[in-house]
């Protein structure tokens, strides 16, 4: 087993530039790690030939001295990103066989910077889920286990494949997307770092849409520095996404000093939930102490509308999903049901969507249809949009009071067992996003950093929430937390 896939992006970049390793070697080592890790269900479409070509091209660039940070770095790409000529199906049966004729803006930028694509990564169907159990490909599995217990655990979701692949050192980093916590929750469940940027920081063009006012792409990485390097390459204005921000993208890595002296960190009292496990409670208290010791001022704050964030999300996200997913009609791409004699076009739509969408996607599309239907639009959808305004204002108020960042737990628990939630009603699964979903509703940047382990050895993460467009400062605070916690644990290889 080669040690190369264990490198961070920063270390690999330096080794590549120094000529100590080639991208071809690095890529080959990742490809063999991937082939040995089918039990994790992380990579669902492998692209070894493409990877080798890209690595060869990157090695040429490195030789010529024209090497951006990501030149020659092997990455995994979430299946939600359209990649030209490579299956991109949002882990849904309805996009079986779909091969995009175009490349998403984010992957275009990564590949232009010389990154190497190893393949596509598992996820919840259309990014709807918190356990990667709604995927048409089957489960992704967490490389971590509870001590010697062999029970399979979820890597979280929706970016479960990305999280498992990075945590298991199958790739150096991965792309994720986050609509309600889909980068940060899986990052916390697998002991890696995941960043959801400010809404509008990364172009959504070519990313299969779930809830367009909430969706945002971001990096999933082995540490904060790697997240900074990836974000610089993924972000930027794109005329093809009207909500993408026309703002300069800083060199985030160069702004990591770990100096948080004089910064004010808010601790929101509404995030202290009844029945929260002691371990999460103490993790949070330790994080607070670490930032305090690093010279930050800690203040208690209130975000009064927090408890309404999840119900707001479960109106707005399904509403937008029902509209976005109307395009899957069996006409232009993907699956079309076999029709019976005499079936008309409506039969085709209904059968195609019944066969093509899994139960959770069907449920959300129908809930969205209901809340947008005549007679309910005001009571549900418009009311949720008003509450969303109030949730955003909660954050604006504390930032105005001088708070620079907010510290919360990333998840209400450590990773749970695959199948454990099978009997629970859908709302129980939704509670996974309780600490992350506010950030999407307010359009803010949020980052999950691993800072501890529970008594069975599973990783736990803390979340930092920053001001809009201030990912650089957020990453820097995360860097301080990372250094103070000294989290270095890795899952023991069983796969």
């Amino acid at each position: 087993m080669s040690e190369l896939p264990k490198l961070t992006i920063a270390a690999a970049r330096d080794a590549l530039r120094a000529g100590e390793v080639t991208s071809a070697e690095l890529t080959e080592a990742c490809l063999s790690a991937i082939d040995g890790a089918d039990a994790l269900g992380a990579f669902v479409h492998k692209t070894p030939d493409r990877a080798r070509e890209m690595a060869a091209a990157a090695d040429e660039r490195l030789k010529a001295g024209d090497a951006p940070d990501l030149c020659g770095i092997p990455l995994g790409i979430k299946d939600l990103f359209c990649t030209k000529g490579v299956a991109s199906q949002a882990a849904s049966r309805i996009l079986e066989g779909f091969s995009p004729e175009y490349e998403s803006t984010v992957t275009t930028q990564l590949f232009a910077a010389g990154a190497v694509m190893l393949g596509k990564l598992n996820m919840d169907e259309f990014a709807m889920g918190s356990s990667n159990e709604t995927s048409t490909y089957g489960n992704a599995v967490n490389p971590w286990r509870r001590g010697n217990d062999t029970a399979q655990l979820t890597p979280g979701g929706s970016s479960g494949g990305s999280a498992a692949a990075v945590a298991a050192d199958l790739c150096l980093g991965a792309t994720g997307t986050d609509t309600g916590g889909s980068i940060r929750q899986p990052a916390a469940f697998t002991g890696i770092t995941g960043l959801k940027p400010t809404y509008g920081r990364c172009s959504r063009w070519g990313i299969i849409a779930f809830a367009s006012s909430l969706d945002q792409a971001g990096p999933m990485a082995k540490d904060v520095r790697d997240a900074a390097i990836l974000l610089s390459a993924m972000a930027g204005h794109d005329p093809k996404d009207s909500t993408s921000a026309d703002l300069p993208v800083p060199d985030f890595e160069s702004m990591l000093t770990g100096d948080v002296r004089g910064k004010t960190i808010g601790i929101p009292r509404e995030y202290r939930m009844d029945g929260m496990p002691d371990e999460i409670e103490s993790l949070w208290a330790e994080g607070r102490k670490m930032l305090e010791d690093a010279g930050a001022t800690i203040v208690d704050i209130s975000l009064p509308h927090t408890k309404y964030a999840l119900p707001t999300y479960y109106v707005i996200a399904p509403a937008e999903a029902s509209s976005n997913l109307a395009r899957y009609d069996g006409v232009r791409y993907g699956h079309r049901a076999k029709l019976a004699q005499g079936d008309g076009i409506v039969d085709m739509y209904e059968k195609t969507r019944a066969e093509g969408f899994g139960p959770e996607v069907q449920r959300r599309v129908m809930v969205g249809t209901y809340v947008l239907s005549a007679g309910f639009y005001d009571a549900y959808y418009n009311r949720a949009r008003k509450v969303r305004t109030l949730i955003k204002k909660d954050f604006e108020d504390v930032f105005e009071q001088g708070v620079d960042a907010i510290l919360t737990p990333a998840t209400p628990s450590a990773a749970f067992g695959l199948g454990e939630m099978a009997e629970a009603d859908p709302v129980q699964m939704y509670l996974n996003d309780i600490f992350t979903v506010t950030v999407n509703l307010a359009g803010l940047p949020g980052i999950s950093v691993p800072t501890g382990q529970d008594r069975t050895g599973l990783p736990l993460g803390l979340q930092l929430i920053g001001k809009p467009w201030e990912e650089a400062e957020l990453l820097n605070t995360a860097y301080a937390l990372e250094r103070a916690s000294g989290f270095v644990a890795k899952p023991e290889k069983w796969w």
Binding site: T312, G330, V331, M366, K386
Partner: protein
């Protein structure tokens, strides 16, 4: 918990263009009930005078000249179609 009857569940499924068998409707209605019951909490929030959010990040949408910038690639557009004939998407008969 909000009560959703099977007739409502059937109507929503039909609006969403998702075929649901009759015997699956009671379970679907129950799930809707649970989710809508959860959403119901929003009724207790005072939203008097609050504007519904339109855009999470205040920004002016960019404009550009109204002109053709792309096109002429029918084959590419049709390349993923389940059924395409003579340069068109093909569907079951729509008009009798």
């Amino acid at each position: 918990m909000s009560e959703i009857d099977t007739a409502t569940a059937a109507r929503v499924a039909q609006l969403a263009r998702i075929r649901v068998d009759d015997d699956a409707l009671p379970a679907l209605a129950e799930e809707f009930g649970a989710i809508l019951g959860f959403i119901e909490q929003l009724q207790e929030v005072d939203v008097e005078g609050v504007e519904p959010m339109v855009s999470v990040t205040p920004m002016r949408l960019k404009r550009r000249a109204d002109e053709v910038t792309d096109g002429g690639m029918a084959d590419t557009v049709l390349s993923n179609a389940p059924d395409a004939r003579e340069g068109f998407f093909a569907v079951p008969k729509v008009v009798e």
